[in-house]
């Protein structure tokens, strides 16, 4: 790209829970923001602009909450921008924030995303506020059945993903679900929700927020010199496609393929399976792991499930996926995408703690939204030229 370098120098998130009754909306976002600022060794005074992402305002019943949150986010006197691209919004928020730096508009930008789902009825809003909703699981189950039909994947693949991500979550102090005795048997015995998706193959509904400090080359270099390696953005892209028409393939959406190709092209990634060390993929239902492994070129078409089967995507495997526990373990919807981007950044910063993937130099974060229509992805690296 002909743009200026951009680095992630601070990441913060809340403890995600079903109900964060201990904090207001403002308190929730500040918890993530202060962690990100502390991580970046900055204060709100260092921030030039704030970019806020969240999913539909109907989730909480507060219209355009960035107006009310201007004070809590330290945005007074600054630009405050609000993104909403359905479930991909957290990812798009990071991309829009980066854009400000990549074109030289600002030096340092704060990206924030949150959802406080306990304040409302997410399933109602997910049905466009019309009621009688199938919920997200009902919308995605047909795609999953189509994937299983095409790939001939055995049914335990979904259970394995569910167990893996919950085991990873036990290494992430911020994760919502902490199921100590998670097992294949337990997943298999959980209630069927939307055939073939069982309860324990589904994401939770969380209250939570994520924040990220992005800065320019000078800021990234300064952090590195201070012994705090930044994550450098190697490529970023968003793609959208319409909901439904003959010929559309929601199992292998063209928007996902193009989004991946765009990012890999910018990043100089020609062999994703080999060059990417770890990925945070938006997996709200277990089967989305093999689906996205294939759409994002980390596995050949029809082979994604085999990387689950042989343990490749486990934390100790050669391509760990969702080392953080992923959306299956924490799902404040509007923030879930930014969490993917942030966890990818933390992996290449070597800042992922107990769920660190050893030696991760290149990672991707990915989010998707609506009826598998909106895709946002970035690739981040420990350096700007990770491939030499």
């Amino acid at each position: 790209m002909s743009t200026r370098p951009c680095a992630v120098v601070g990441v913060g998130q809340t403890h995600h829970k079903s109900r964060r009754l201990d904090v207001s909306f403002g308190g929730l976002v500040r918890e993530a923001v202060f962690r990100a600022l502390d991580d970046a060794r900055m204060t709100m005074a260092d921030i030039d602009a704030v970019i806020l992402g969240k999913a539909p305002d109907l989730f909480e019943g507060v219209m355009k909450p960035e107006l009310y949150l201007s004070d809590a986010l330290g945005a007074v006197g600054k630009p405050m921008f609000r993104v909403h691209t359905a479930g991909s919004v957290g990812g798009t928020t990071a991309i829009v924030a980066a854009s400000h730096i990549q074109v030289g508009k600002h030096r340092t930008v704060l990206a924030v995303a949150f959802e406080k789902q306990s304040e409302g009825n997410a399933q109602f809003a997910l049905g466009s506020g019309r009621g009688a909703s199938l919920g997200a699981g009902g919308a995605f189950a047909p795609f999953i059945r189509a994937y299983i039909h095409r790939s001939r994947a055995p049914e335990h693949i979904g259970w394995k993903v569910a167990v893996k991500d919950r085991l990873n979550a036990l290494k992430n102090p911020y994760a919502h679900l902490r199921i100590e005795d998670i097992s294949i048997e337990k997943v298999k015995a959980s209630p069927m929700m939307w055939e073939p998706i069982r309860f324990l193959e589904s994401c939770p509904s969380s209250d939570g927020a994520c924040a990220m400090v992005l800065t320019d080359e000078q800021g990234g270099d300064a952090a590195a010199a201070d012994g705090r390696p930044p994550a450098w953005i190697l490529g970023a892209s968003s793609r959208s496609e319409p909901a439904s028409f003959p010929g559309r393939d929601p199992v292998r959406p063209a928007a996902a393929l193009q989004c991946a190709a765009d990012v890999y092209n910018q990043a100089g990634i020609t062999d994703p399976r080999r060059q990417i060390d770890t990925a945070e993929l938006y997996v709200p239902f277990s089967w989305h792991e093999p689906i996205w492994l294939e759409a994002f070129g980390l596995a050949d078409e029809g082979d994604g499930w085999k990387l689950v089967e042989d343990g490749t995507t486990e934390l100790g495997g050669s391509l760990p996926i969702n080392a953080s526990g992923g959306v299956l373990s924490s799902n404040p919807i509007g923030a879930s995408g930014l969490l993917r981007f942030a966890e990818a950044a933390n992996q290449v910063r070597g800042a992922a703690g107990e769920h660190q993937v050893d030696g991760a130099k290149v990672a991707i974060g990915m989010a998707y939204g609506a009826n598998s229509q909106y895709f946002s992805t970035w690739a981040v690296g420990r350096s700007l030229q990770p491939f030499g």
Partner: protein, 347 residues
């Protein structure tokens, strides 16, 4: 990278055309249908089709539409097949333009389409807008937009920036009708506001085509270059603000380079008469500046497109022979958040 970009004011990016729907009190058309029409209307004179669009950014608001994820179906209107680089802001289309302006400066693409759309007729503003307020301390009061506007109008009048007569004159000029004495003889609807001080309820949409410099110059004879663009927010609670001032507008205008030269036209998103007088005062607009020649938000107020229309009218001024114009957009109670875009006949 152009020198303007070094100053953080943007590269060589220009508006090359825009279109708006008929502005109606109520339309039976969906937002998607409105956008279908208006995107086609914006592209056609340029000889472009949807296939030429490299990036789209839509501005709309679920609470205005009355449905979560309302913007998703608008992908049909932009023709996102093959898939498009795309984004959506829960803000006026003016901010969608801001995102596109940044995106085009990345230099890898040439043409963006931005939209703003809203059908206010389907809801009741007095029920919807309280939900925009601080959910703990302000929303429960249930104060509607007229109430907050009246509070600000009182402050603006008290500071001597406006009086009821000058407000009526703004209404008459915007709507090209009425008589000051007759208007001032009417009852208040929320003192000091009368019916003429208040915007209409409007359904409508606007679409704008933006291009990088070289492409813009090939598309039209006189592109409207975006030479400055900035937006700022303020403290949310109106009672913590000096309502007879708009520091965020002043900051945005300074950052957008308003002082770099004279402007001929200012299109201000002033839904209430006193807002126009306050904004003109804050921006220190001289008598030689034509304010809201389009009639502004007092003539047509398609919420979520009103600001983008201001930029469109400012661009029209430049594309039809003018040199430099300012457009303004706003969001939130009592002008909480403000955007300034300056367009000119040279980059």
């Amino acid at each position: 990278m152009p020198s303007r970009s070094e100053m953080g004011r943007g590269g060589d990016i220009a508006i090359v055309g825009w279109a708006q729907t008929p502005m109606e009190r109520h339309t039976e058309k969906s937002e998607t249908q409105l956008l279908m029409d208006v995107i086609s209307a914006a592209l056609a004179p340029l000889g472009l089709t949807r296939a030429d669009i490299d990036f789209t950014c839509l501005g709309s608001c679920d609470y205005i539409t009355g449905q979560a994820f309302s913007f998703v179906s608008n992908l049909d209107a932009i023709g996102a097949w093959p898939p498009k680089r795309d984004s959506h802001v829960e803000m006026d289309g003016a901010w969608a333009l801001y995102e596109a302006w940044l995106r085009l400066q990345e230099g890898d693409i040439e043409i963006a389409v931005v939209t703003g759309s809203g059908r206010s007729s389907t809801g009741d503003p007095s029920l919807i807008y309280p939900m925009e307020m601080d959910p703990y301390f302000l929303a429960p009061l249930g104060a509607d937009p007229l109430t907050f506007a009246a509070l600000q109008a009182r402050a603006v009048i008290a500071s001597g920036i406006a009086d009821e007569r000058s407000m009526a004159e703004v209404a008459i000029r915007s709507r090209s009708r009425g008589d000051v004495d007759a208007l001032l003889a009417e009852d208040y609807i929320r003192e000091p506001l009368r019916r003429h001080d208040v915007p209409p309820i409007t359904d409508g949409a606007a679409a704008m085509v933006v291009a990088t410099g070289d492409r813009a110059r090939r598309l039209v004879e006189r592109p409207a270059y975006i030479t400055g663009f900035d937006h700022r927010t303020e403290c949310h609670n109106p009672s913590f603000r000096a309502l007879d001032d708009s520091p965020s507008t002043r900051l945005a205008a300074e950052a957008a380079g308003l002082g770099d030269g004279p402007i001929e036209v200012a299109e201000l998103q002033a839904a209430f008469t006193h807002e126009e007088l306050l904004l003109a005062d804050v921006l220190d607009l001289g008598d030689d500046v034509s304010v809201n020649p389009s009639g502004g938000a007092l003539r047509a107020n398609p919420i979520m497109a009103t600001g983008l229309c201001r930029i469109g009218h400012a661009a029209d001024h430049v594309m039809s022979g003018g040199h430099r114009a300012l457009a303004h957009s706003t969001s939130g109670p009592c002008l909480q958040q403000n955007l300034v875009c300056i367009v000119a006949d040279t980059p």
